[in-house]
């Protein structure tokens, strides 16, 4: 009973701190930029023509899914444990009588609603603004965005418990390595979350007339495989992170 109370306190504490942290401001910047962009752009999208659906899908794939989503995941995913590590405040949690796995899950469950809320909220907003096409895109791409977000958040939790400068590593990974890897020829790209996400979006969009994006080496795979891969990445990352966090001695805290 008292453990549950402590756990809920911890979730609430982490959630509140993340919500009012600089991360939120930082993330709102690109989201707001995209909102303004859509606001200006939607006059071109009206009428629901094939071209405007295509254009909107491309925006979602190349600006939203490959920039805004990972940025949100970095801002909250690594900040929840990584930020506490950098500020050394993690120490205050580790010396409390709360088992470490619970600390980890508290952090994770505080992060998830924030990251999902922001990403999904932004996604919903853009689709609303885009009118008819938006409604279609929303129903088509929702699973892809959802899977991508949780996969990124879990992966970055793994970064946060394992590496010291996790935020920087996660940023470099999300903004540079993934983009490069995801666009490489052959099967190298299969390590990138971004690639699976785009595959899912592509598979969902093609029946509605989405044209193959012009990236040269983009060879999409089926939606179910991609979803399974993303779910797999999520679970494995979480599990490994949990084990690392349970075993790890954080010597850099004091």
């Amino acid at each position: 009973m008292s453990l549950l109370r402590a756990w809920i306190t911890l979730v609430w504490l982490s959630f509140r701190r993340l919500l009012w942290s600089g991360s939120t401001l930082m993330v709102l910047l690109p989201i707001a930029a995209c909102t303004l962009f859509i606001l200006r752009w939607r006059f071109r999208l009206e009428g629901g023509s094939f071209e405007s659906f295509n254009a909107f899908s491309l925006f979602l794939m190349f600006a939203f899914a490959s920039f805004v989503v990972p940025i949100c995941a970095v801002a909250y995913g690594t900040a929840s444990i990584g930020g506490d590590r950098e500020d050394r405040t993690l120490l205050f949690l580790l010396v409390r009588p709360v088992p470490r796995p619970l600390v980890f899950f508290a952090k994770f469950f505080a992060t998830l609603p924030l990251a999902l809320g922001l990403v999904m909220g932004a996604f919903w907003l853009y689709c609303q603004l885009a009118g008819e096409i938006g409604a279609l895109a929303y129903s088509l791409y929702l699973p892809a965005i959802f899977y991508m977000t949780i996969a990124y958040v879990s992966l970055f939790h793994f970064f946060a418990v394992s590496f010291r400068h996790s935020t920087i590593i996660a940023l470099i990974y999300a903004l540079f390595i993934e983009i490069v890897l995801g666009n490489l020829p052959g099967i190298v790209k299969r390590v990138a979350i971004n690639y699976y996400g785009r595959s899912m979006m592509y598979a969902a969009g093609v029946p509605e007339g989405l044209e193959r994006p012009d990236a040269q080496w983009f060879e999409p795979i089926s939606a179910t495989t991609s979803a399974a891969a993303l779910a797999g990445i999520t679970l494995v990352a979480l599990l490994v992170a949990l084990v690392v966090f349970q075993r790890r001695e954080y010597t850099d805290l004091t």
Partner: protein, 305 residues
């Protein structure tokens, strides 16, 4: 409740942090002294369950320090200066109380109690970001006291505090010690903890090199060389009397004092007392120049020179 180290060794990769340390720390205030890198903070981290020993066991009461249950029995004040800066001192302590599973009302009552104990009650509404070093030290102490633990582990609780704050915190620690708590204080500065601690542990090169009360340790070191300063109106006469003593290794006559080097202070002091008493020499000052805690410490750190 006791804090027990049983043949504890800790490696960081190839680096050895503490080397086969065994000791049992009981009620009262124990000072832990050591140079930077001697293993002091490793010992603290082992005791507070942040590290697992590579060999041996660290026990809080009868539980391993690494375990979750052990954490109910100690309070830990770390040697870091970071908090949730956006909170006030009160909020911070309240949140920490909640992490022990206290219900809201209990946590609130306990927070006020602790704030009063550490003397922060009137300033607890200030955001931690704007707090001075001394106030932050108090908040740290407060969060360690929150569940009224039988064991307190305090890493450098007095560093960087102004003279006024230092006096108040020392008083608080003495009170806690009198309640029968086991308190382990690590410190850089011996002079200020020397009056606080009932017993001391001195750690050097990863090993505990001395333990006991300072008086005991000093007594154990009776045979080491020492310099004694004597101020007397009859310095020359005294020098003449002492030069024949076998334990006196050297005498230096200074304008205002007499310096005597001896190899066996125990015997020397005894003889000196006799000489002064029987000759009725007026001695104004008698002081060992390197007899303070600092000197004991240096001696143990470096070995005989």
């Amino acid at each position: 409740m006791f804090l027990t180290f049983d043949h504890v060794t800790k490696f960081y990769g190839p680096v050895i942090g503490v080397n086969n340390v065994s000791c049992r720390i009981g009620p009262g205030i124990t000072g832990l002294f050591g140079a930077n890198g001697a293993g002091k903070s490793t010992l603290m981290k082992l005791a507070s369950g942040q590290l697992r020993p590579s060999q041996g066991t660290v026990a809080v009461g009868d539980r391993r320090a690494w375990s979750t249950e052990a954490k109910r029995h100690f309070g830990y004040s770390p040697d870091i200066n970071s908090f949730y800066e956006e909170m006030t001192g009160r909020e911070f302590i309240y949140v920490m109380a909640r992490l022990y599973g206290l219900a809201k009302a209990d946590a609130r009552a306990r927070t006020e109690e602790v704030l009063r104990e550490v003397g922060m009650i009137d300033r607890a509404g200030r955001r931690l970001a704007g707090c001075s070093h001394g106030m932050r030290q108090r908040v740290k102490l407060g969060q360690a006291l929150i569940n009224d633990p039988p064991i307190l582990l305090l890493d450098e609780p007095l560093s960087g505090i102004d003279p006024g704050g230092r006096r108040e915190i020392s008083r608080l620690l003495l009170e806690q010690g009198e309640k029968g708590k086991t308190i382990l204080i690590s410190s850089h500065i011996l002079v200020e903890t020397e009056n606080l601690a009932d017993s001391v542990l001195i750690i050097a090169r990863g090993r505990i090199v001395a333990s006991g009360t300072l008086v005991e340790i000093r007594a154990l070191l009776e045979d080491r060389p020492l310099t004694v300063e004597i101020v007397s109106d009859d310095a020359r006469q005294l020098a003449a009397l002492l030069v024949a003593e076998p334990d006196v290794r050297g005498i230096e006559l200074r304008p205002d004092s007499l310096l005597i080097r001896t190899r066996n202070p125990g015997r020397f002091f005894s003889r000196f007392n006799d000489v002064v008493a029987s000759n009725q020499v007026s001695v104004v000052k008698l002081q060992t120049l390197d007899g303070g805690a600092d000197a004991v410490f240096n001696y143990l750190q470096q070995g005989p020179r």
